[in-house]
């Protein structure tokens, strides 16, 4: 409290002290409770995925095609729930449990598409659909290219 007394606008010392002070009054969420919720939601999504996979395999579809069906159906489900405004509630409860699976990625693409539709097909949906997912796609592709390069170098030198 004492340090709050001499705080001034745009003063370096104030900035440090105020940042420290704000930490003391900022409420935080219970990490353990958050992890349990994330585990539950993430787990349920994975169980649904596993269910789809098992069902496809029981129909005699090969493993790889079954996997594709699993991803496709989960994405479809997520996009539908996004359009019906149900997914934000699931994510608000489950946090990373709802964001990390493929369903979270689908939500991050569907949400801007809905929001920016009013700005037209080209400059709205077209230009802004990847505003959230864009970085994931860019750096995902970039890092796989980098690893590919590394792998190629390895084969060149006979490392593996």
């Amino acid at each position: 409290m004492e340090e709050l007394k001499n705080m001034k606008h745009n003063d370096e010392e104030t900035k440090e002290q105020y940042k420290e002070y704000v930490k003391t009054v900022t409420p935080t969420k219970n990490l353990w409770l958050q992890m349990v919720k994330a585990f539950l939601v993430g787990g349920i999504i994975c169980i649904i995925g596993q269910g789809i996979l098992n069902y496809c395999e029981s129909l005699g579809i090969d493993k790889e095609t079954s996997g594709s069906w699993c991803s496709l159906l989960l994405v479809l489900l997520s996009v539908l729930l996004t359009g019906l405004n149900i997914y934000p509630g699931i994510a608000s409860f489950g946090g990373a449990g709802a964001l990390v699976p493929i369903t979270g990625f689908a939500n991050s693409v569907a949400a801007p598409a809905i929001e920016f539709k009013k700005e037209g097909q080209v400059f709205g949906v077209g230009a802004k659909i990847f505003t959230i997912a864009g970085p994931v796609i860019l750096y995902g592709i970039f890092s796989s290219w980098l690893l590919g390069l590394l792998y190629w170098c390895g084969t060149l030198f006979g490392w593996w």
């Binding site: 969420k29 405004n85 709802a98 939500n107 949400a111």
Partner: protein, 347 residues
Amino acid sequence: MSKEEVQTAIFQQGKQSIKLPMPVYIRASASVVGKKEGEGPLGALFDMIGSDGLFGAKNWEEAESTLQKEAVSLAMGKAGMKKEDIRYLLAGDLLGQEVATCFGVADFEIPFFGLFGACSTCGESLSLGAMTIGGGFAGNVACVTSSHFASAEKEFRFPLEYGGQRPLTSSWTVTGSGAFILSSTPGQKSRAKITGITTGKIVDFGLKDSFNMGCTMAPAAADAIHANLKDFRRKPEEYDKIITGDLGTVGKEALLDLLKAKGVDISAQHMDCGIEIFDQKTQNTNAGGSGCGCAAVTLSAYILKKIEEGVWKRVLFVPTGALLSKRSFQEGNTVPGIAHCVVLEGI
């Protein structure tokens, strides 16, 4: 400059305040809000509650324009005035280039000043309106501000349907617009009078967290309230209430601590519109409500009602604003705050 030169303005009070030479009357006011606000603790007091967020418009920005249009029409109706009776319109919102305001008030064809003070704009418009009337430049002035949850989310944060977790310090932008008709004469009936203002300074304590706007604005609110008390030589007890705009639960704590450190205790008088407008527990709004509309609709529906009823005789109304744009935030800039004090008294 010599001392004589500095002290030429006759209505100045202290360093940054004005004591109005004659009171400026708030003849009428109106509040229009969205569904969630209507379901909140103040729900029964608002003049108009929309059944959905769009208010019959095609998109969120137009919906916000509709809010302003309705608020101004209602307030003029209550004051028994036509648009020709209003000399100036002072208005603002949170969107880029103030599109909600421009499209909302254009059809009134009233000489217009567009204002931006982030969520403090309600205080800014009332201050400038009071000065315009107090200085003898207008008989009647309309002040209107608005915010809309969906248009603000789109402007500053994420698309609505995007799933994510909101930090506990974050606030919920109020969908609402409050309009006020200020006048030099009390007419048959007035809700309250403005007797003084204190114009806040931009205060930056270096915070960069746009999800903790309460704490980014608290230093500016503390500075403005402190200046008001000093300029008018008043103690906090001389106000029945000191009401900030949208500090929320976390910012309130910071404000009280910052003022206590300066030797001023306002914990008995302090109230925050952002805390009053929603029920945090059932409405999931975290730290509270925010936005230009938050302070404006609370003033119109709740604070002026209490003053009218004589429950509160003198109130210090302090809307607070966080000065940021999506760009300044992305480029790593700080989030400075601003707050404007308006002294309201019963008739």
